[in-house]
């Protein structure tokens, strides 16, 4: 196979830089739908939705990352993801994530309806945890195929 085109990729959160390397393609969950960015994509800035981010690395392996909102910026052949938080699916403890999700659901149920701010907060948390659980499942599925 001819050598594929690459695009620079960088994903940072306020706390750390998670990944910084050239990749083949990235699939990003944005507010207006999921988009896949290939090399030479037109410059774009968009808002991220909590969800699952998929990166095809140069050795054709897939990296699955759970993100919790933020921004994606596509520059001339460079993708920058400014995420509120990001975790590699391979590093997420599935049981922990599941428990956290249940906890968030539980507190959502127990919430009094007047408390709007708290509601928004917990919903956001729930979405984050959901994204984590989903990314782990996706990651497992992928690995099953390989085996």
């Amino acid at each position: 196979m001819a050598s594929k085109k690459e695009i620079k990729f960088e994903i940072v959160t306020p706390e750390k830089t998670l990944m910084k390397e050239p990749v083949l393609q990235v699939t990003v969950p944005t507010e207006s739908g999921e988009i896949t960015v290939l090399p030479e994509h037109a410059p774009l800035v968009s808002i991220l939705k909590p969800g699952v981010l998929e990166v095809v690395k140069t050795d054709n392996t897939l990296e699955v990352i759970a993100v919790a909102g933020g921004f994606v910026e596509v520059l001339l052949n460079k993708i920058v993801i400014l995420a509120d938080s990001a975790d590699r699916a391979s590093e997420i403890d599935e049981e922990e994530a599941e428990k956290a999700r249940k906890r968030a659901e539980e507190s959502l149920k127990n919430l009094r309806s007047e408390d709007r701010e708290r509601f928004a907060e917990i919903t956001a948390q729930l979405e984050r945890e959901l994204a984590k659980s989903r990314s782990v499942k996706r990651w497992r599925n992928l690995n099953r195929h390989i085996k």
Partner: protein, 316 residues
């Protein structure tokens, strides 16, 4: 001459103080290492988001209206200063330096009515010492590493700014240049000043080793946003305004977070050097007292011998 028991007691007490200062120095050194790492890890995000906002602001400005968080107010009635201080003392001039800096900047701005929002316990001295009004005080974690810790603060400042409670928000923090040098700084965070290109938190005045990123901002603009003369048109989804609406609050959070981390790193290194000096001073004192002690001991032995020989002489 002071009696030997007394001196011995003092030597003992100073040695145990020395042990404590030594231990504090070591703890501070460990915390400093952790906090400096945290500062460095935050910097890429701060820089990247700043550059994005710069470009965004230009894009939106061309439509005519200026975003509320970006627009400078002509008539400034009240200013807020977010002051980052330490929770505990024993860190040299750390707290007094930042307070003096904040005070100077108020005087420079014609003593406009100013409210302080204090982070950490020691900053409350702006009220007791300088009689400035403190409108809120936040607790802080000595080795903060999560942005959550400043989110409430950021939200409060943005709300107060938008509600016209304050017309300008400044942040007073201590910039960590290197372990031996910390510089108190006062910076404007609201309204966001897009014209002060390299004057935002996290880029300015950094030691080379810690990664000066001033070039990075330019590089990004040159390399990624314009190819020669041709400028690339950015697409914004859903719209530039919407992106800006979401991004500006994040930027403020990140800047406050950065200020917090810088201050923490500075605090621990200030404490480390203060404790280092204290340990040295204790060593000197012990040395001196030991000399005294030996002299006193010798003097008493001499006196004793003199007495004995005098007694022997008397018997002959």
């Amino acid at each position: 001459m002071a009696n030997t028991k007394e001196i011995q007691r003092r030597i003992k007490s100073i040695s145990s103080t020395k042990k404590i200062t030594k231990a504090m120095e070591m703890v501070a050194a460990a915390k400093m290492r952790r906090t400096t790492e945290a500062v460095l890890r935050t910097r890429p995000y701060a820089n990247l988001s700043w550059v994005t906002v710069l470009n965004l602001a230009k894009a939106v400005n061309s439509n005519g209206t200026i975003h509320l968080l970006l627009s400078e107010r002509k008539d400034i009635k009240k200013v807020a200063i977010v002051l980052f201080s330490s929770n505990r003392g024993l860190c040299g001039g750390f707290n007094s330096a930042i307070m003096a800096k904040a005070r100077n900047s108020i005087i420079k701005h014609n003593n406009l009515p100013t409210d302080f929002i204090v982070i950490g316990k020691k900053g409350l001295a702006v009220n007791s010492r300088y009689k400035y009004n403190v409108s809120a005080q936040f607790e802080k974690n000595d080795t903060a590493s999560e942005i959550k810790e400043v989110q409430a603060l950021a939200k409060m400042m943005i709300d107060d700014f938008l509600n016209k409670k304050y017309d300008k928000v400044l942040v007073a923090y201590t910039d960590f240049v290197n372990p031996a040098k910390q510089v108190p700084r006062v910076k404007q965070i609201l309204p966001i000043d897009v014209n002060a290109e390299d004057d935002h938190l996290g880029i300015v005045g950094k030691d080379e080793k810690l990664g000066v990123d001033k070039e990075f901002v330019k590089e990004k603009q040159d390399k990624y946003l314009s190819k020669g003369e041709e400028k690339f048109l950015m697409t914004y989804e859903p719209s530039a305004e919407e992106v800006l609406n979401q991004m500006l609050p994040r930027l403020i959070e990140v800047q406050l977070f950065q200020a917090l981390l810088e201050s923490n790193a500075s605090e621990h290194s200030a404490r480390m050097s203060a404790m280092n000096k204290a340990t040295e001073a204790a060593s000197d004192l012990v040395k001196e007292l030991t000399l005294f002690y030996n002299k006193a001991r010798q003097a008493s032995i001499t006196a004793e011998i003199a007495e004995i020989s005098a007694g022997a002489n008397a018997l002959e």
